[in-house]
């Protein structure tokens, strides 16, 4: 059986994170993995993500876009959502670990981009936002700021081709 899957020209890929005393966890209503949402149905993608994520996990701390890429015939917009650990409930979780980024050459895209690398870049972008954006700085607690000190800040990027 082939599973039902998202389709369409724009896909939102949401990484839902919660900070704990043991470090950041990847979680969410669709499991500890990128949460795929169809976007572009006449609604701004960030409004779509805010609507669905806010319904599934009330009281979001932060929502930000971090990168985009072209994959499986669609533009994939990656988003980072930060929720309070008290909202994890029965969601499955996995720890977030540091990984090397997939880098392209001057003229070619990297051969493959795993979701862990997209998430690594998202956290590097969050490190940048935590220093450049007052709203983000205030939304994150001290544990987040301590974690992000270890990330080299990066802007919003196109990943891959």
């Amino acid at each position: 059986m082939l599973p039902i899957d998202v389709e369409g020209p724009v896909t939102a890929e949401v990484f839902t994170l919660a900070m704990t005393d043991f470090g950041p966890l990847l979680t969410g209503p669709c499991g500890p993995a990128p949460w795929l949402i169809e976007a572009g149905h006449g609604e701004h993608p960030i409004d779509t993500v805010r609507r669905l994520a806010g319904s599934a996990m009330p009281g979001l701390r932060l929502l930000h876009s971090t990168s985009w890429r072209f994959e499986r015939g669609a533009v994939v917009l990656s988003f980072l959502v930060v929720m309070d650990e008290s909202r994890i409930g029965e969601f499955e979780t996995v720890p977030v670990h540091r990984v090397d980024l997939a880098r392209s050459t001057a003229t070619e895209a990297p051969p493959a981009i795993g979701y862990e690398q997209v998430l690594e870049h998202a956290l590097r972008h969050l490190a940048w936002l935590a220093k450049e954006d007052e709203a983000v700085r205030v939304a994150l607690d001290d544990r987040w700021h301590d974690l992000l000190e270890g990330y080299v800040p990066e802007p919003f990027l196109q990943l891959g081709g």
Binding site: M1, P3, I4, G31, W35, L52
Partner: protein, 51 residues
């Protein structure tokens, strides 16, 4: 007849035709911003317990 249906995100549901169609439509709408038709749901469903 009992059916099983799986979403690419790993979510699964089982039940008779009406139950799985309703569950799939609710899941698609709430978590993926998708409108799943009855035909799509049944095209992806299989007999419960089958590999």
């Amino acid at each position: 007849m009992q059916y099983e249906l799986t979403c690419a995100c790993g979510w699964t549901t089982s039940g008779d035709e009406e139950e799985i169609v309703e569950a799939a439509q609710d899941h698609g709408r709430k978590l993926h911003n998708m409108e799943v038709t009855r035909e799509q749901a049944m095209a992806m469903a299989g007999p419960a317990g089958a590999d």
